[in-house]
């Protein structure tokens, strides 16, 4: 189910102290809702990413609890204040127990 899952994240490379930046994340996943049926009328089991967390230097930016009503290839765009240079860490939790992670550095523009 969870093959070829690839997270993609867009974060500016630099920011000024206290700047509000926009972060875009996308992860490829078919997000099988568990409501569809196959050719023989059997329900296709649910297989989604159920949780997404974005943190900056260990501080929570946003956390999303996802239900099957989220589209395939879940996309999130959100804002974050940048108080200092550091690392954004993004984590996705799959129904099957897989965890997908990626991170992005951001520096302070002088």
């Amino acid at each position: 189910m969870a093959t070829g899952v690839k997270p993609r994240v867009k974060v500016p490379k630099t920011a000024t102290v206290g700047e509000v930046i926009t972060v875009k994340t996308l992860i490829s996943h078919k997000m099988e809702s568990g409501l569809r049926k196959d050719e023989v009328d059997a329900i296709i089991p649910r297989s989604i990413i159920n949780r997404f967390v974005a943190e900056f230097n260990g501080q929570l930016v946003i956390e999303v609890a996802m239900e099957p009503g989220i589209s395939s290839n879940p996309y999130f765009q959100f804002e974050s204040v940048v108080p200092e240079a550091g690392t954004f860490r993004f984590t996705w939790y799959d129904d099957d127990g897989s965890i997908y992670e990626t991170s992005k550095e951001i520096t302070i523009a002088s």
């Binding site: 409501l35 946003i62 099957p68 974050s80």
Partner: protein, 140 residues
Amino acid sequence: MRLTRRSTLVLCGGAAAVAGLGFGSASASALADEIERFTGGATVATGLVSLTAPEIAENGNTVPIRIAAPGASAVAVFAEGNPLLRVATFRFGALNPAGVASTRIRLAKTQNVIAIAEMADGTFRQASTFVKVTVGGCGG
């Protein structure tokens, strides 16, 4: 309530014709129940929170929505015409004080999308948007 929802899902996946029967009244109370699970029965005011979605969505499988809830600690998004009413729950940390987030959701049919925000002081605010769906994303 859980059972009702389950059976509604099956209807949605299988026969669209059956889904028409008695669906309206059932979904209204189910929605109230689902919202109460989030608010704990607190009264919900309007204002301060915004939910942006297209007036007409051609493809119900990916409908872009944007929420902006300054000062909210959490926002739950509900789709009143979906087999599973709750779509997502956002929790905002201190680094996102404007409570801004966008995502893409599935909508089974033309319906209201509702965002309910829990503000930092424990009160609840809601915003809703009516979305016309041309081709429903029924269960995927």
